[in-house]
């Protein structure tokens, strides 16, 4: 396998954009990434699209060539990858594999989701299809409910408190308020975060990520020594677990995150202590707490207190979700994995503006699908 890097990044703002369709969002981000890389559309040898539920949200299938064509990309393999909320992390993993193996020299990876054209109960129904429909879905589970089940058990086993969950929301809102592309640029207090409208106990509205529209793209290519601002992929892995929560022995652990992290650390030749910043999948506040535990940043069960002490804040010892995370930046499901990579790359390039952290040579992105059945962990470093 040859060394591969992200040589261009491009994102649309995340938010509710009634006037924008799925294709225009995706095309915008792709063109930005190509311009950032200094690459022409005709040089792209493969296009990978991460998208969870375009057919359900907007009534269009065959999305990869549908989006690639107007970007000026035809005559090459165009493939849509679906892995629930890890769709574009997975698309990136597959694009990386092909480029590292020497199959292509330039690949474009785009993640996109257009969610806000549907009403909330229908959005909940579409998202619930990423769970086990025959049991969880049939019983009336929503995604907040699955993570409510996880949060309750984590509280029971480790003494995690509502205040710990709220501390994740407060931190990510503070970061997102400084991100010009974030969906919700609003600072909140611990009291506000504790008193949100209940969604699925113990989770309230401030524990939940946002329903957003948006797209993100990256260009990847071999690192041949002439790329300006390239960010190297040091390690990457995708792994899986059961879809149904009731098939797991301990729902307070994301086994797929643990196994993907172990493989990515081994490939990168680094351990969790060497990771200076991370974008983790905070689809719900409890998911960030579990992610930092399963990535090895903190001992199992200590993710809540670690967050409440400020360790994961912008000025903490290990900043997590400097972009505002899914919580505040927004969570257009299929765009999230690639958006995380863009945000880590931005920090490594030293271009994160007010959110720039002091140590930014090596960072990690962790993308989760469903209630933990898919996970992608990517470690990036200055080239």
């Amino acid at each position: 396998m040859r060394p591969v890097g992200i040589i261009g990044i491009g994102k649309t703002p995340f938010g509710a954009f009634p006037e924008r369709d799925i294709r225009s969002l995706a095309v915008d981000s792709g063109k930005k990434a190509l311009a950032d890389a200094g690459i022409e559309a005709g040089q792209v040898e493969a296009f990978y699209l991460g998208n969870f539920a375009g057919p359900s949200f907007v009534g269009q299938s065959h999305l990869a060539p549908y989006i690639a064509g107007p970007m000026g990309i035809t005559g090459v393999p165009c493939t849509r990858v679906e892995a629930a909320c890890a769709s574009s992390g997975s698309a990136f993993f597959h694009a990386y594999s092909a480029v590292a193996a020497g199959l292509y020299d330039v690949a474009l990876v785009t993640g996109v989701e257009k969610m806000t054209s549907q009403q909330t109960p229908r959005v909940a129904e579409i998202l619930a299809m990423a769970g086990e429909c025959s049991t969880e879905g049939r019983a009336g589970a929503t995604f907040p409910a699955l993570f409510g089940l996880i949060a309750r058990r984590h509280m029971h086993q480790y003494g995690t408190k509502k205040e710990h969950l709220a501390a994740v929301a407060v931190k990510n809102h503070a970061n997102g308020a400084m991100n010009p592309d974030a969906h919700m640029k609003k600072v909140i207090t611990l009291e506000q975060a504790m008193a949100g409208k209940p969604i699925a106990d113990p989770l309230n509205v401030y524990d939940c990520s946002l329903v957003s529209d948006g797209a993100a793209s990256v260009v990847i290519a071999p690192l041949d020594g002439v790329r300006k601002r390239a960010v190297r992929v040091l390690g990457i892995a995708q792994t899986s677990d059961h879809v149904a929560l009731d098939r797991k022995e301990d729902i307070t652990v994301f086994n797929a995150v643990k196994s993907a992290a172990a493989k990515a650390y081994k490939m990168a030749g680094v351990g969790p202590d060497e990771i200076q910043l991370a974008e983790v999948h905070d689809c719900f506040t409890i998911a960030e707490i579990i992610a930092i535990e399963d990535l090895g940043f903190v001992l199992k069960g200590q993710g809540g207190p670690y967050t409440a002490e400020g360790c994961t804040g912008l000025k903490g010892s290990r900043p997590v979700n400097t972009s505002g995370g899914l919580k505040s930046k927004g969570h257009p499901v299929g765009a999230t994995g690639v958006a995380q990579l863009c945000d880590v790359a931005l920090q490594i390039r030293g271009e994160a503006g007010a959110r720039q952290v002091a140590k930014h040579e090596i960072g990690l992105a962790q993308n989760l699908g469903g209630s933990g059945a898919s996970a992608v962990v990517t470690i990036l470093a200055a080239a």
């Binding site: 619930a128 086990e132 009731d246």
Partner: protein
């Protein structure tokens, strides 16, 4: 069929087909034989470690009730 509550949540914001039932409690039960099932609750709300029994099945969904 009996077991204990492994975890629970009270759903306030329901998917389209369940809006009229909200709020309702969703649980995972560890049955006495060790297997886990996802279900709902009939009667009074339950907490983790409560003993429950299978009270009924509706549309293939098991509904559990607290054992007194």
């Amino acid at each position: 069929m009996t077991g204990t509550v492994y975890t629970e949540t009270l759903i306030h914001s329901a998917p389209e087909a369940f809006v009229s039932e909200a709020p309702y409690q969703l649980i995972i039960v560890t049955l006495d034989n060790g297997t886990r099932v996802t279900g709902r609750v009939s009667g009074e709300p339950v907490s983790i470690d409560d003993a429950v029994f299978l009270a009924e099945e509706r549309n293939g969904v098991p509904f559990f009730r607290k054992r007194q």
